[in-house]
């Protein structure tokens, strides 16, 4: 039988759960909780979505001049024109 877990405890571990860094026993308890708690289940989905969105990296812009400026600085140090 799975021991119940509170919402607050779930929130504390939700990031580790997404990273699959919780021990199996805690994972089972959290999964049982998600089945019955729509609030925590929504928080899990939302947080996982955020991680996915950020990890995608496609939404982060890198300045087009970055590479040029980095090497210009190095060139300056090395006395290149």
């Amino acid at each position: 039988m799975v021991i119940e877990i509170s919402c607050v405890e779930v929130w504390r571990e939700i990031s580790n759960y997404i990273d699959e860094a919780t021990d199996p026993e805690l994972r089972d308890r959290m999964e049982a909780h998600f089945k019955v708690c729509r609030h925590c289940s929504a928080i899990l989905d939302g947080t996982r979505n955020v991680v996915r969105l950020i990890a995608d990296g496609a939404e982060f812009e890198v300045p087009t001049s970055l590479s040029k400026h980095i090497y210009a600085k190095l060139d300056g140090q090395l006395g290149k024109s």
């Binding site: 504390r12 939302g46 982060f60 970055l66 600085k73 190095l74």
Partner: protein, 291 residues
């Protein structure tokens, strides 16, 4: 296996001379549609040296894949891809220390983006982050002889960048960003994710990718820097907990605590859009409202 995003491998194109053709960039990024094209005169340089554990391909450091027909075959099946012999980082470092400065350019190239994002993680100001990225690269160049090779070069480089960015942050108080949640976020205490009632409806037709970028910027800016830097290193740069702890000089437990806080705050800031319009058409994002 730990969750990993599918577009794990980021890549830029380089021509035979090692230059990045401007024409291949769209908004400063490689045109992803070209990633699978048939051009044989361009090479991909992978910026990600850690692949999914589900992939059997093991790669340490950046590697090159050619875009010849056989190279294309390899890209279609990453598990069997055979990178062409790549200059190893150790060799590049040795060459650089031996006076071959060109080797440093080659050494640095795969990490430009990572250096920039590490600086953004602390400063959240693109102009400052770019300057810090330059300073950090210069510092890495000048101190390369002090790199003891106990850690990965990338970890050492990011550590230098974080330190530079923190110095800039402390020096320039104008860039001190107040966290919108700072008042109620005691690091030791629990963070209470917002309830659904706080979420706003945003009409889907009004939200485009540019708005998502802006929303991401705002959400990141709203984070306290100590949370933002962990989030960037972990979720943008995909560093491990251990590496993140090393780079930031904090315990692994604190990395986890800050990561949790950062993710939940980002979720609260972005939930309305993710719930609705920003991800329209992207099936991988689940609806988060239970009704």
């Amino acid at each position: 296996m730990r969750f990993r995003p599918s577009p794990k491998v980021q890549a830029y194109y380089f021509d035979a001379q090692g230059q990045r053709p401007e024409s291949e960039l769209v908004d400063g990024k490689p045109d992803k549609s070209l990633m699978w094209n048939q051009r044989a005169d361009l090479r991909l340089i992978l910026l990600e040296d850690r692949l999914e554990s589900s992939h059997s391909m093991v790669s340490v450091g950046p590697c090159y894949l050619d875009l010849t027909p056989s190279g294309r075959q390899n890209r279609q099946d990453m598990s069997t891809a055979t990178p062409q012999p790549a200059p190893m980082e150790d060799q590049l470092i040795d060459r650089c220390l031996g006076g071959d400065h060109e080797a440093f350019y080659e050494l640095m190239r795969p990490y430009e983006r990572a250096v920039y994002f590490a600086a953004v993680g602390v400063l959240h100001n693109p102009a400052d982050a770019e300057e810090v990225a330059q300073e950090a690269v210069l510092k890495a160049f000048n101190n390369l002889s002090k790199f003891r090779r106990e850690a990965k070069f990338s970890t050492w480089l990011i550590q230098i960048t974080i330190n530079e960015a923190r110095m800039r942050f402390r020096k320039d108080r104008a860039h001190l960003y107040e966290s919108i949640d700072e008042q109620k976020t005691d690091e030791e205490g629990d963070y209470r994710p917002k309830d659904f009632a706080d979420w706003r409806d945003i009409p889907s037709e009004e939200l485009q990718r540019r708005e998502l970028r802006e929303a991401l910027k705002r959400a990141l800016a709203s984070l306290d820097p100590k949370y933002r830097e962990v989030l960037v290193l972990r979720d943008v740069e995909h560093m491990s907990i251990i590496e993140t702890a090393q780079v930031l000089g904090i315990s692994e437990g604190l990395v986890k605590t800050r990561l949790l806080r950062a993710r939940l705050q980002m979720r609260d800031a972005l939930a309305p859009g993710i719930d609705g319009s920003w991800t329209t058409g992207r099936a991988e994002f689940k609806k988060v409202r239970p009704w």
